[in-house]
Point group: none
DNA sequence: AATGAATGAGTGTTCATTCAT
DNA sequence: AATGAATGAACACTCATTCAT
């Protein structure tokens, strides 16, 4: 009866988990962790409050799951995309492009992700340690590319870590911009500009 | 009795306001708006909870005052500094430098300011409209400099708005980096790198 | 098919009832009525929560059944034992002995039984009326013996009811003592002492 | 201004504590710990729910305070009374008499006290250790008297501990009886009978 | 002017009970 | 017949705000 390893029950459980997580992301994105209520999440998921607790042991756990799930997916697509790129230039472009498209698709997750950086080190940061792992994975992609680029002279001499940080933050900033609806241009244009700025800087000839 | 327009009472009132605001900034920076309690703020200010309500009508108002106060000061120093700079290059450098030094001095305010960008448009965003004013003021400083720079050919052809956004976000990112204690280098080094990257980009020759 | 009046179905139903009751006694003894959860009982009985409700209409009913079942058994063995004893002295001794041995065997039931006396008249006391019947049955055994003893002059003149109460409570106390593990002596010694004290009192010659 | 060491505030605080404790005892006596709600206690005390938490940190703490307060008072009056009695016989009589009168006056406390013995060793028994102290104090009063009595030959040879236990339990039983309203006789009669039974036992000559 | 005691609405979490499968 | 997912009412506890002193 179990089809491809999953019983009907497994499917339902998985579905509920996803359903609640989805709703939670929406609510957390809107209100932030503290101002989101479990009741709201339940309602958004179309279940009763008690049902939420059948699938997650606490509000905090839902939050962390919502955060982690997105981070795992993000890191995976980033790693795949960067690895597939053939030059330093293309690796950095791939990083920016993939991240922007990913968040364009997962706006709710972006808000949660972004909020977590603000609080980073602060109070809810029970996760701090776990979060760092994902941060480091992203950093590694960039520092590797940058160091490689410097060896090949396609990038000028720069401190790799600080530079990677800058790219990370800049990319995040541009995404924020778009998601707040403050940007009129198309996504591809935005990506081009982001990369262009990063690569060439402001200076004229 | 009223000396330079202020009675003794006025002075006390002003003092209390400042005292509470200062305490509030500390607490809000630590905990965020929702997780900060008025009791904590009162305690940090060394007054009773009821006293806080003599000076501010609500928790939200304290928050907004704390935010606005910092924004006014920030915009003022930025405008002064940028106006005083003589070239496009120096104007942008001055912007970055002043902002970084300002936040280095007002870390509590930075946390609040930063958090507000996350929520921007979102829930507490009663302020949205008011916040925008300060955002626009900062943007104007940069877009003016950029457009001027493009006319003088010291900056290559770029969309002024998007570029200004990028500078804003990148600067904020570097500050975050420092305030989270993730950066080892000195402040002046950080400023130099930030400007250097922005100006020249990554590309080798 | 129905063998001595019971179909296979009847046997199963009876078996389930007993199984659940047994588990319930364990749980109620441990946690008390309010702090015991139906889930725990179901788990202890090795069935699903819903199954419990196929056999008992409510948590309260399980409790009452657990209580009543024990009380019926207790009263029966007490009546048999006391009836079998030939003298007043032996009847009282038999009462104490049988009760102590019964509870030594049914510790879980004792805890429930004991707790019910505390609450007696109080909140869950939906049972009050039903409980009284069992109380009266035990009392009757003792008052009969006592009154008979007084007629035969083997017991001095005493108010039968109050005296019976005293014996009841004293016996219960000694059992409590043992079940809480506060007693080091063997069960037979304890019984002897209990009877000896009751019969002779404290007084020296 | 502080009169006999107490400011007006101290008096109020003390009053509220007492008021809430009083109400809590009533409610806990009626419903038991688990079935009592803080809301009920607040209502019984004539204050809002939040107010209760200004005076006690948790439901459990209220309970423990209610229990401890009574136990301290009980032990004190018992010790005073027993110490004041001049013979073994009178010491034991004093113990019984004082305890019965104390509980006659503090019926609510008795229910709580009694319930705690049922659960003793069981779940809420965070107190177990603290409770034991009071138990030991009562036991000591009796064992001292008993051992002394045995030396003077006014009590026959008996194991002091077990005998003390028996007196404790028997006394408690008689009190239960009265408080449940199952006894028709006056309190003094009940005390006399209790002592008489204990001292002389059942046996006719 | 300042206090802090009092309030009560709101939140996370549990659990007896129901019911579709 | 048995399951266990779903429900929602109930509860302990918190906290912004009010107000008598």
């Amino acid at each position: 009866m179990p089809l491809n390893g999953k019983t009907k029950r497994d499917v339902l459980v998985e579905f509920r988990h996803a359903e609640i997580l989805q709703a939670a992301r929406r609510v957390f994105a809107d209100k932030g962790f503290s101002d989101a209520s479990v009741d709201e999440i339940a309602q958004a998921a179309g279940v009763a409050k008690g049902t939420v607790y059948l699938y997650y042991p606490s509000k905090r756990d839902i939050y962390w799951e919502a955060l982690k799930g997105g981070l795992v997916a993000l890191c995976e697509v980033l790693e795949t995309a960067v690895r597939a790129a053939d030059s330093t230039e293309n690796k950095i472009r791939a990083f920016m492009r993939t991240k922007m498209l990913f968040f364009e698709e997962h706006r709710d997750f972006f808000k949660i992700y972004h909020a977590e950086f603000v609080n980073a080190g602060a109070q809810p940061g029970c996760f701090e340690r776990d979060l760092k792992v994902f941060h480091v994975r992203q950093m590694r992609l960039l520092t590797d590319a940058i160091e490689d680029g410097m060896r090949r002279r396609s990038i000028r001499k720069l401190p790799a870590d600080e530079t990677a940080f800058a790219i990370l933050h800049l990319t995040r900033g541009v995404i924020t911009q778009r998601l707040l609806g403050l940007s009129r241009s198309g996504i591809e244009e935005a990506i081009s500009l982001l990369f262009d700025l990063t690569w060439k800087g402001l200076a004229g000839k």
